[in-house]
Amino acid sequence: MGTKLPILELRSSPHMHTPLDVATIMRHVVYALLPLCGFAIYAFGLSALLLIITVAASALLTEHAAQRLSGKATSLRDGSALITGLVLALTLPPGLPLWMGAVAGFIAIALGKVMFGGLGHNVFNPALVGRAFVQVAFPVAITTWHPAFAPQRFSTLIDGSLTLPFLQPATDAVSGATPLGLFKFEHQNSNALDLFLGLHNGTLGETSTLLIVVCGGYLALRGFLNWRIPVAVLLGAALSAGLFHLYSSQTYPDPGFTLCSGGLMLGAWFMATDPVGAPVTPAAIWWFGLLIGAITVVIRLFGALPEGIMYAILLANALAPMLDQLTQPRVYGHPRRPR
């Protein structure tokens, strides 16, 4: 026969595959985080820039070293360690000593991710594991807030930033409280528009509700995150906050304040949506989000801390496998499960 015999590859069907892969998803999440980092630097200046770089570098180095120690090829290219580093940095207060940021990045990857077996195997959101660690280890530094848009922010560092390792920074007397802290401890309300735009104090990335929704919305529209999770979280928070507000509008804040203050937005769009710690069945995803929103509000209103999103997500991460088990979808051709 005239046809030259080609080398034929044998594959099992399907022979087509979507061009989308894990690295592409992660890359777009990084793109979506960059405007938030940019706004953080604009609002808090040089200290914010250095803190973001430190935390991200620490996370990347830890990931790389762990892969090398276990004799595997480096996994930095999948982008997940960079996301962990950036998300973690955005949850930290601007004046946090850089060495504490490095510790947070190390713990996030080492304890939150590598110990479980790396990407895809971690139970908890690694960034929040790092954040929870520094919350417990450095309770003062992590709750020391610095005012946004300080005049000298691009030329000088915040006092605490360069504290030497293993030392605590000198407490800053003029530190600016966050809207959540103001409400909880001093019963002061904040300007709603300032909250929405991000013209107030807080952690690096949590302040601008508008920017978070735009960046997260981009990921949702492109299908890089499951939109049901942030919607469910916000719905859960708004509903439970609304219930308390109806009961007593004097004691409890309105749902708008709940949604726009603190880390709820950042957590809903960028942390609860980490698929590794989230459930997979359609029903469980809604329960997961609603639970996070409700627990956040309960912690905020009745706990000792002004903010609850971190523990809410970590708790829901732990519950995710059980939610999956309880909500297995009905398969085509099978009878509805008796309740």
Partner: protein
């Protein structure tokens, strides 16, 4: 949560792979006869046919050369006038060699169909019609190759409400049913009447994906006035052409797990199958050729060709120009088709397409990197049966095949490949499931 068939004109979930229907405007053309035809005796699901010819016997085009072995089997007919060279084991698509009749084609012959006679179709009632259909050797042309008459012989005690004609052709690249519906419209309508007679269905629903509007419009314009045939547009989505999903979309009924369409009063036939029956039955002719889509970047002259059964792959590729220096050859569609190892395998009754994907297209589509599962749940959003491929995949990795079967309904999976298609971690999910099913079969055996 899961509620099947609630969405309009489609099922919940599924995927949207690129259509690649590049050959949809190519009219059906006849392919020349290869010098030798290879005719496996097991071109259908069921018992292999029994040869009724011997070595060196001369046969004319259309003459039966193998008879059905009982009810669950289909006969074979000579696709060309020629001489039986031998009956021997030959390579097959599935791997192991199979008993095949090798036919040396007389190149000087004009290859008219000589073995046929007109039949009065009005005298055939239900069971005689089913017998006549079995005589044609017809099998489902969509790819499963289930003998057509078996599906029409509805067991005692079941009444059929709907005959469903499947004109979805949801696999990318394939355009055979599209062309057949467009060009053989009258044959299709005649075939529908025969099949309706055979299974006793009072109503006919013709499901056509909405990327084939011209075919749907053409059929709708020629429908008989009695109004028992209805053309329904369904949304273009993979795997819309799955028998069970199409039943649910068109009738709202759900075929029980492990059950058959007749249990919900439906019989489903592929549009191409019915149209070919419409051509064969009035002439008392057997199935000797079929329409095949030849497409993919590796083929110089893509199109829809009427190919004699038994034509070897290398002959087809030689005729149509295979330009890929290396690549993958797929029999059937890219989602559920089989890639072939050798070019001497023949076109059988089940082959709906030959796709020549070059190395460039393969590497463009499949990045080799396999990542760990990140639990993104895209496979759950893709699985048309609402299985949990994430969990099934994790269990498969642990070789816990029993749990896959007992708790996560592995046996319901019909291997459409949607989960593997969407997986951003490139995990070969459906491939795992095939292995799991094979391991479970072996345990039982």
């Amino acid at each position: 949560m899961a509620w099947f068939g609630r969405q309009r004109n489609t099922f919940a979930r599924g995927i949207h792979p690129p259509g690649h229907k590049e050959t949809e405007a190519h009219p059906i053309r006849r392919l020349d006869f290869a010098p030798r035809l290879i005719l496996p005796l097991n071109q259908h699901i069921g018992k292999p046919a029994i040869p009724i010819v011997h070595k060196n016997q001369e046969v004319v085009r259309g003459e039966p050369i193998a008879k059905a072995d009982g009810l669950f089997s289909a006969p074979l007919h000579a696709p060309a006038t020629g001489r039986i060279e031998k009956i021997d084991l030959m390579p097959s698509v599935k791997g192991p060699k199979v008993q095949s009749i090798i036919l040396k084609v007389y190149s000087a012959d004009d290859q008219r169909v000589r073995y046929e006679r007109p039949r009065n179709m009005n005298t055939l009632n239900g069971s005689a019609m089913i017998a006549a259909i079995q005589e044609t050797g017809m099998v489902g042309l969509g790819g499963a190759a289930f003998p057509t008459h078996v599906k029409l012989a509805v067991p005692e005690g079941y009444a059929i409400d709907y005959l469903i004609i499947n004109g979805c052709e949801c696999e990318p690249y394939l355009t055979t049913d599209h062309r057949v519906m467009l060009e053989w419209t009258d044959d299709l309508l005649a075939g529908i009447a025969y099949v309706q007679q055979a299974c006793g269905a009072p109503r006919v629903l013709l499901g056509i994906e909405d990327n084939k509007h011209n075919a749907a419009a053409r059929i709708a314009a020629r429908l008989p006035a009695d109004g028992n045939i209805e053309v329904r547009s369904v949304r273009t989505k993979y795997p819309q052409g799955s028998e069970k999903l199409l039943i649910t979309v068109l009738t709202g009924k759900e075929v029980p797990s492990g059950g058959f369409p007749y249990q919900v009063g439906c019989v489903v036939q592929n549009a191409g199958t019915v149209a070919l029956l419409g051509r064969l039955l009035p002439r008392t002719q057997g199935m000797i050729e079929r329409v095949v889509t030849l497409s993919g970047p590796g083929i110089n002259k893509p199109g829809n060709y009427l190919v004699p059964l038994g034509t070897p792959m290398d002959y087809v590729l030689e005729q149509l120009g295979f330009n890929g220096s290396a690549g993958e050859l797929i029999l059937g569609g890219p989602m559920m088709g089989t890639s072939v190892a050798s070019l001497d395998v023949p076109i059988t009754k089940a082959v709906s397409g030959i796709l020549a994907l070059t190395r460039e297209t393969i590497t463009q589509q499949v990045d080799g990197t396999v990542y760990p599962c990140i639990h993104c749940g895209r496979c759950l959003q893709a699985c048309p049966l609402h299985l949990n491929p994430t969990q099934l995949g994790l269990l498969a990795a642990n070789r816990d095949y029993q749990a896959m079967q007992d708790r996560y309904h592995l046996q319901d999976c019909f291997e459409c490949g949607s989960c593997s298609y969407v997986c951003p971690a490139n995990i070969p999910l459906v491939q795992y499931f095939r292995i799991a099913k094979a391991m479970l079969r072996e345990q039982v055996a």
